[in-house]
Symmetry: C2
Subunit: 193 residues, 2 copies
Amino acid sequence: MKVSALILHLESFIPLKQEEKDRIEEQFVPQTVKRKHKLLTAGEVCKDYFFVVSGCFRMFGVDDKGFEHNIQFASEKDWIADIGSFYSQKTSQLNIEALEPSEVLRIPQLGLYELFNNIPKINRIFKVMIEYKYIELQNRVLQNFSSTAEQRYLAFLEQYPHLKNRLPNTQVASYLGITPEFLSKIRKDLRDS
Amino acid sequence: MKVSALILHLESFIPLKQEEKDRIEEQFVPQTVKRKHKLLTAGEVCKDYFFVVSGCFRMFGVDDKGFEHNIQFASEKDWIADIGSFYSQKTSQLNIEALEPSEVLRIPQLGLYELFNNIPKINRIFKVMIEYKYIELQNRVLQNFSSTAEQRYLAFLEQYPHLKNRLPNTQVASYLGITPEFLSKIRKDLRDS
DNA sequence: ATTATTTCTTAAGGTAGATTAAGGGTGTTA
DNA sequence: TAACACCCTTAATCTACCTTAAGAAATAAT
């Protein structure tokens, strides 16, 4: 059952009472998505928060020249949404797209507020979750400033071993902020040395 | 009184009872800091979370060549800490330094946990606060990928009007991820055009 | 199985931004 | 009033990474 992965994940932060678990389960809707399907398209409002049960997603923006820039990946046991758009209900500039056939649990804004209002623990769990994500992002900013593309590539391989064999290099290049051609050169240089 | 700025800030998220306010006030310690004084030095553990009452701080890392990279500024009504180090109590790689004579309210780890455990609302307030910071950081990552240094400089001036006349350009350059010399060229080009 | 689509690679030429070096401005402390 | 520390600017040279192009390899769709 898909929902059990979610409950397990939440209880890794704080244990929950059966009554709370039931209440949480009620708010989530399981959904199967095909490769390349978008959970969010730029220009729309992000109406749902997603928990990834299986598969893999990327979140990306498109610049004025039409180039795509990956700002994060999300796979098993991770959460994904444009939280800026989700909480403000303003249109999003971002896209969320499946890189593999995937399964998610979706919770709409009202459902999540229901939980925030009625299960105080949920606020704390989400606080801690977003803190982790904030730290991850902060490390990324620092790394982008203080290392070369090659160093960042090596760091990516170390930090996301569960992704390195699942993603095409073109997606990795976009995440690193370089072109696929330059990533190809980096890989060649690493092979040669 | 310094603490009133904090209470006002917290109540902009959720109203608090007098009893809760008293309990919060108890945990914070006011502190005056001189220009260039460090609230956190790389290699130490981040033992406190800081609310900035007045003045201005920068948080920065130092790379292997000795160059400093600003990852955020914090001024009035903002919070600052290396939250990774603060929550894990592991040594920090970051520094927090006053750019002006400043006043802060400091809360130690145990004091903050006291509040998280006894005032459920505080979890929600901190959740929302960090969500805002996450969105800001995410926008920064996207912007760094999809625009030139000149565009980023213009965006910085727009986004942080309260900082642009308070910071030396050398600090702004470090935040933008460029050298002071190149920022100088950008400013000249903008002047000429 | 075959085609269609996406992905990977190599290489030549180009550009944003770094580096180095040097001179001038401004404010702070003695 | 000097001396010091810090900051800003200009300009020449250099480099990490981009652009364009084009063929080969791998994957997905029919």
